[in-house]
Amino acid sequence: MRKINFLIITESFVYKTGLRFLLEEMSVTGKIHYSEDLSQIEKSNADYIFVDTGLPDVQDLYKQVRSGHAEGWPVLIALTHHRKDKNLLSSGLFRHSLDLSQPKSEILHSLVEITKNNFSPNKASVREEKLSEREKSILRFVALGYTNKEIAEKLFISMHTVITHRKNITRKLGIKTVSGLTVYAILNQLIDMNSMG
């Protein structure tokens, strides 16, 4: 997955820490940078830039936009508080605005909407990892109590390969011990209950 970088431009400690908290909760990978003034906007390589619209020199940005400077800028998001400033979005400067007076659920929802082209908000649930046929056959042997060495000999592969497969099985299933794997194998009809030692 591509890394997404953020820049938060504000003088407010609470805005900074609050936004960071929310972004981290969305398990976004990438970096979050901070700045206290607007000079960073054009230099920054961030994908999304949050701008505190209470900053004194925000008006200067509008001027730049009017004279056609804003093209090619990253996605700017206006941070507002209770304020419905129509000029904000109609100016074309900010692609989104984020009202920080909203409840947490609303803000998270907006953040997901804003960044939805770049990542999915819940990585864990998207990942679907099935065992390959090879892994299944190795799992069968593990469940029956064979050692790595015995499995390697039976399948004509190296010990190293067996170990790699076992690591992948454990990662995919979330089961670490041999007896846990045995239970899994029985539940999924990879081996017969009666063959359990």
Partner: protein, 237 residues
């Protein structure tokens, strides 16, 4: 004292290891500790590190006598063996009703749990009967400024570094047990009972993480340090 429980009710089980039970009225932590002859600083460090995973005053904890640490660890073991494990067992074994509709599933769950339980008991017994007495002897030698030759014969070939290895497997089994119930067994016939088991397992896991952290990061390094001072070689002779 009351504030602590309101902050995190799971602390009640930590209290019981210090011999503190409920009904403390408006007494402060200091008052309760003084009443029962509990080392206040030790109590606070244990409680704080239990509450906040990031707070772990390793050096501070190491400064307490092994006797105090061993006492706390032993009481925790007792609680696992006499309360926590039997509690989980009575639900899993079906004494309070059957979790799953299929006999085979109940059997699998029960067998896996029994295996975990046996391993845990063996491990705890070994710590209580060998590791802890050894540590106390080492501390005696250390405090009386004697050398390792004064250790009792039974501990002639023992060193603390040999004991660390076994922890992992027990934690892994518990991890698997949880996942098997959450992910791999079919939806239970009696969700309420299953839920009860899961809550108990999560509590046990949290408690055990805290417990083994004290063993691994405080107890073992402290004993190893004293072994060095009394001239105990780390390799077997």
């Amino acid at each position: 004292m009351v504030d602590l429980v309101h902050k995190n009710h799971v602390l009640i089980s930590v209290f019981s290891r210090f011999g503190i039970s409920l009904g403390f009225g408006d007494k402060t932590i200091r008052e309760v500790c003084e009443e029962r002859g509990i080392d206040l600083q030790f109590f606070l460090e244990i409680v704080n590190s239990f509450l906040d995973y990031d707070y772990f005053p390793r050096e501070q904890l190491k400064s307490f006598p092994i006797r105090l640490i061993v006492d706390y660890l032993t009481k925790t073991h007792h609680e696992y063996l006499e309360k926590t494990i039997p509690e989980i067992e009575s639900v899993i074994s079906g004494r309070e009703g059957i979790c799953y509709g299929d006999k085979e599933h109940n059997y699998l769950l029960n067998t896996f749990f029994q295996e975990y339980k046996d391993e845990l008991i063996t491990h705890i017994k070994k710590e209580d009967e060998q590791v802890f007495p050894y540590a106390l002897e080492v501390e005696q030698c250390y405090l009386q400024k004697k050398t390792a030759e004064n250790l009792p014969d039974t501990f002639r070939n023992y060193t603390i570094s040999r004991y660390l290895q076994e922890h992992d497997d027990i934690e892994e089994k518990l991890f698997d047990l949880k996942n098997i119930i959450i992910k791999y067994l079919p939806p239970p016939k009696n969700p309420r009972l299953c839920y009860q088991v899961i809550v108990l397992l999560f509590n046990l896991e949290k408690d055990m993480n805290d417990h083994s952290r004290i063993e691994e990061k405080v107890f073992v390094p402290k004993v190893a340090m004293m072994e060095k001072v009394i001239g105990r070689k780390n390799s077997r002779q």
